[in-house]
Subunit: 396 residues, 2 copies
């Protein structure tokens, strides 16, 4: 594997440019004016910002319709109706989850994403087709993208017999996490749902990542149940709650108590920073030592037409949602789409220090705040030191 | 002036392409396969969507730092602190409001904007410099952009003696509207502030456009005072309330009563659809017959670093904020950045029918919902039938 010398890049947006030497896929040396070893490819960075590869901590790449004919959305806002509409769509349309997950993953890579945690639908109608599709994409893109998988009972675990066995099978096939969904408002039996998914986690020695859209005190009750089970089953540090709108809705003493429980069990939070729902209190979570990742959620599917898989756009939306205007506030959005995700996914060797994997993005701009406030399209993306995308196009 | 024939464009996103004949700056004929008159320039539309030129109904082009060295924002979230910080910045930095308003106006044009209503700071420190700057830009870009101006007492009208006279002078110089700002929370005397700005409107026979950030019942009280003065002074149809967060905060019977008053006085609403504040209830306002425009507000200034003057991005943010996912819901965001603005600005001959000014944007996409959910960068912009921007670059 050839060595690469990146000349004149501004690491994490620092004002001064440096050179970065990459050998055997890792960063080995950072300083101004490095003398290149023989047979080293030299890439001029033109004083662009060098950022760690972006991490999408909550995605649904198995169901994106990216590149397909436009889906005309006519579904109501009701969660069960949206889920039922999606199953109905699948009954009447050919949908190749391998092809589609690859398409949206390539789009994500072209925008600078190097790591994705994706939830994959498992239900009694599609069975394990989406799991097979995404695992095939994972293998196919292994050199360009790290893909972490969560098998996800989107249509519910309790009401549709056979789903639990399918989840068990999905974990056997290699899914990394056990997914779950609103245990009270959607599943109608919080204890039965949570006990079932934590049992799967125990059986397969996997972590848990639960979709929790439940509002206010109902969601807070679910957070308590999740925290209790995490403690009881010894899963400290291996559980993520996705969305967790309720943390932004309950009153402050209640919020503080919930956060203490989450911190105590090292439970992570994944947020999409939605502009139309309450959001978990980012600064308070971080101050309590809680790991927080940001995600793009579904991109162009039967749920929602929005997005282009760009994590810088997600950082922008996060900044707008949290009303971050100071440069030092906006830097938190960069943390959420980089280091925050690495903490949640427990990535080894992530970052821009010597020894780290050379997963990085070069992007033009004056400061980190500028490229988040107005994300530029022109990016160069390196995975393990290899240029995998440039100017919005994948090179593989 | 040469005639132009646009071939194969999909008007307002209709599935079937048509041709559009433009003569003397106006659309004169729309149908499939028009035979071009002699000496007509033919532009192939490649079945792109043709949309009316975008309208930014609430901007601050006088204060944008677009193209300047990055401003590091360290200001707190408090409104008086932000305003004071801005005056302080101007004391210590050269700021050419003509140059800057032209820069951001060109950026807006490159993204498809053909009409802007902009608020212009007037205060006892900068005097009328920003008014002079923006009016010079208005004249300079008259062939490419319709610019409507609001003289705006950003630092307050009551607490800084001399401001009222400056506002009077600004109106005499040609500003189209009288601006105002939070009459209670910022100005500390709602009756005195509103009486002063309505008096200026009466004296100069101009309309009024008031920034109203006041929350809940305080804002609702201001809405009542504005509605009362609109009625008493015979300004029906000539008043806009910008932001009006309070309309999305009060309880429903109160909201209904306020909306009845607004509808009765034909008071318009301008919204930026902020993701971190309550928003006026778009569908209810429109159902009551109230005109609603969308705006980008300040772009890259000492207030906020966000944005790129793209009204399609604003439409996307509006769709996200209002949780519009159905195609027919998302179409409302297009209305807000086109016809809604035209209604608020009372534009003659706006739209895509024969007889209208040929102000339009060609953009690639399958449907209106697609180009709002993921705004493409590649656009061709026509003002009065003349190509003024293409692929993100102004051609003048």
């Amino acid at each position: 594997m050839k060595s690469t010398l990146l000349r004149n890049v501004r690491l994490n947006g620092q004002p001064e440019s440096q050179d970065v030497l990459i050998e055997k896929g890792r960063i080995t040396h950072i300083s101004p004016a490095i003398a290149p070893p023989v047979q080293t490819e030299i890439v001029e960075g033109h004083h662009r910002l060098a950022l760690p590869g972006f991490i999408d901590g909550h995605a649904h790449i198995d169901k994106s319709q990216w590149g397909m004919e436009w889906y005309v959305n006519e579904v109501s806002r009701d969660l069960p109706a949206i889920i039922s509409n999606e199953r109905d769509f699948r009954r009447h349309h050919e949908f190749d989850s391998q092809r589609q997950s690859e398409r949206i993953a390539r789009q994500a890579i072209s925008m600078g994403t190097t790591h994705i945690r994706t939830h994959i639908d498992v239900d009694t109608e599609i069975g394990l087709r989406h799991v097979e599709g995404v695992l095939a994409t994972k293998e196919k893109l292994a050199g360009q993208l790290y893909l972490e998988t969560v098998c996800f009972p989107q249509s519910g675990l309790l009401g549709r017999p056979g789903t639990q066995q399918l989840m068990d099978d999905a974990l056997g096939m290699g899914c990394d996490y056990v997914g779950g969904i609103d245990p009270s408002s959607f599943e109608r039996d919080p204890v039965a749902h949570l006990d079932a998914i934590f049992a799967l986690a125990g059986k397969h020695d996997k972590g848990v990542d639960i979709h929790l859209h439940e509002p206010g005190e109902l969601g807070a009750f679910s957070v308590e149940l999740i925290t209790e089970r995490t403690r009881r089953l010894g899963l400290k540090g291996r559980v993520t709650i996705s969305h967790a709108f309720c943390l932004g809705e309950v009153d402050l003493p209640r919020q503080d108590a919930l956060i203490r429980g989450l911190a105590d069990m090292n439970i992570a939070i994944a947020t999409t920073a939605p502009s139309n729902r309450p959001v978990p209190p980012y600064e308070k979570l971080r101050a309590a030592g809680i790991r927080v990742t940001a995600g793009n959620d579904g991109i162009r599917d039967t749920w929602s037409p929005y997005g282009n898989s760009d994590m810088l756009q997600r950082a922008m939306l996060m900044g707008l949602r949290y009303r971050w205007r100071q440069d030092r506030e906006i830097a938190q959005a960069l943390h959420a789409i980089t280091q925050g995700g690495a903490e949640v996914m427990e990535l080894e060797g992530y970052g821009l220090e010597p020894g780290c994997h050379a997963d990085l993005v070069l992007v033009s701009g004056q400061t980190v705040a500028e490229i988040i406030a107005n994300p530029p399209q022109d990016r160069a993306v390196f995975k393990a030191g290899k240029l995998v995308a440039d100017r919005g196009e994948c090179l593989f």
